[in-house]
């Protein structure tokens, strides 16, 4: 299957921040969640993907087009919305729809009408009277109605109320029906992306900490609770991601869990009380902490 996004060895240096050797691949038909704290480099990565910024080095390919040179050809099939994007506040949604339509021959007017109803948006009200949630939904309408092959959404759920957020995810889920359409969406919050994403990329401090299928994350990580006497040095042999001890109670977070690990823990003189699966959020935090530990 063809890759819709292919970033290879991307570097971009700013004064106080740098993207460091970013490699990212999104196969066609998949949804990828890009997770990172604010300032991790999500927006910079996405801007490079849209040809808005040129990387210092590396290659960018979107839907088979080299960016930034072939950005027009790529953007013809990409629906992009970012958190810092605003519509013209004195114009209404109808004006925006007509304007965008002029650039996309494949604009689907029926779908646009359906979305207007579903999102309960008034097409003749000036944008400045819209709430934040309505603005986000209006932007989403403007890009979904072009039926793009690839959606790139930078922090689409930030600042949305729970209802608007759920409506937004519902429309994204609809894209799953078509195996030729793909989505990359970023969030500082794992909850927003984990439900729909096939794969997750953790971005931190300008570099990728991990990028793999969501099931891989969930299968590999376990929080093992044990009791007994042991030393952190001895446990280090197991290559745990994170170890915490209080008295004789131990919490060992493993990022390479296999059943045989439990035997090894017992061999260190610990009794395994329980083995807990971890949520993606816990995994994200543990990954970031692990990275910080090795850095300093």
């Amino acid at each position: 299957m063809q890759n819709v996004i292919q970033l290879a060895n991307i570097n971009k240096h700013y004064g106080h921040f740098a993207l460091d050797n970013i490699n990212l691949t999104l196969p066609a038909g998949e949804i990828m969640g890009l997770v990172g704290v604010n300032g991790a480099g999500k927006s910079t990565t996405i801007r490079i993907l849209m040809g808005l910024i040129e990387a210092d080095s590396g290659s960018v390919e979107v839907l088979g087009h080299q960016l930034p040179d072939a950005q027009v050809a790529a953007k013809r099939q990409v629906g992009f919305a970012s958190e810092d994007m605003r519509l013209y506040k004195h114009q209404d949604l109808k004006w925006h729809m007509d304007f965008v339509r002029g650039f996309y021959p494949e604009w689907d007017a029926d779908y646009a009408r359906m979305l207007l109803q579903k999102f309960r948006l008034n097409p003749t009200q000036a944008i400045k009277g819209f709430s934040h949630g309505q603005r986000v939904k209006a932007s989403l309408l403007l890009l979904l109605a072009r039926r793009p092959r690839l959606l790139i959404l930078d922090e689409p759920t930030t600042g949305l109320d729970p209802v608007a957020r759920s409506e937004m995810l519902e429309e994204l889920a609809d894209i799953l029906r078509d195996e030729n359409r793909s989505v990359l969406f970023s969030s500082h919050n794992t909850h927003d992306v984990e439900q729909l994403s096939d794969s997750i990329t953790f971005l931190h401090d300008g570099h990728i900490l991990a990028s793999q299928g969501i099931e891989c994350f969930l299968d590999k990580w376990r929080n093992v609770r044990c009791t007994g006497q042991a030393t952190a040095e001895a446990l280090a042999e197991l290559q745990p991601a994170h170890v915490r001890q209080n008295g004789s109670v131990w919490h060992i977070k493993m990022d390479n869990f296999q059943p045989s690990v439990l035997e090894a823990i017992k061999a260190q003189g610990l009794e395994v009380v329980d083995v807990m699966r971890m949520s993606l959020e816990e995994i994200f935090i543990a990954t970031v902490k692990k990275d910080a530990r090795y850095e300093h």
């Binding site: 910024i53 990409v78 992009f80 994007m85 605003r86 506040k89 965008v100």
Partner: protein, 225 residues
């Protein structure tokens, strides 16, 4: 570099649609100024002059603020950039939309003024002086537009506007106190003195040069940010 003319056209029309009220306002103010100019009183004549000057200055600077600076400030740029548009087309469209607004107001006023001067009691000898001021405004506008296109910065653009506006008064005083111009203020003979021709050519050349420089520099960009 392939410029898609249709894309540029759509972007230009967009800017004109967004600002049609502003354009209509300046045209209305221009008509008011011209009406006063044609009225046979000295004070209405001066009043008309001031209004026309103000309209020409304001139309240009307002267009720059509204189409270039405001797009940046209101974060609508990202919306346009998400469309299949390349940097060169965007810059070109901005320049065309802007100059369209300014020159529409400017040309309307200049043509009406020439007509007015030629057909009314206003001595025709004033024409070179009037045209000199109008051409100075074209140059100022082009300089500010180039700075706005290149820097996209509100600060720099305002700085340039203020500076060029401060220059306007000395230019008027200098010209008004020069016999090449003032000796014909009360006569009906139009004298195209070489001083006028040279300064007009220089100002137009300057305007053309800065705009060309800004366009070449900005359309070469491969990315927006």
């Amino acid at each position: 570099m392939n410029i898609n003319v249709n894309t540029v056209k759509q972007l230009v029309i967009k800017d004109w649609q967004l600002h049609r009220k502003m354009i209509a306002g300046y045209v209305a103010a221009g008509i008011l100024g011209l009406a006063l100019l044609g009225y046979p009183h000295l004070w209405t004549f001066y009043m008309g002059c001031i209004i026309l000057l103000t309209v020409m200055i304001a139309a240009g600077f307002h267009a720059i603020t509204a189409t270039i600076i405001a797009e940046k400030k209101d974060q609508t740029t990202a919306f346009i950039l998400s469309l299949p548009v390349q940097p060169a087309e965007y810059v070109l469209a901005k320049a065309v939309a802007n100059m369209g607004i300014f020159f529409a107001a400017w040309a309307f006023i200049v043509i009406s003024m020439i007509f007015l001067v030629m057909t009314t009691h206003i001595p025709n000898g004033n024409l070179p002086f009037f045209l000199l001021i109008c051409l100075f405004l074209v140059m100022s506008y082009c300089i500010v537009l180039s700075i706005a296109l290149i820097t996209e910065s509100e600060g720099w653009s305002i700085f340039a506007m203020v500076l060029l506006n401060l220059l306007l008064n000395p230019v008027i005083m200098l010209a008004a106190n020069n016999p090449v111009y003032y000796s014909h203020f009360k006569t009906d003979t139009i004298v195209w003195h070489s001083l006028f021709l040279t300064s007009a050519t220089l100002m137009l050349a300057m305007a053309l040069a800065v705009i060309t420089f800004a366009l070449i520099r900005q359309t070469r960009r491969r990315t927006f940010i």
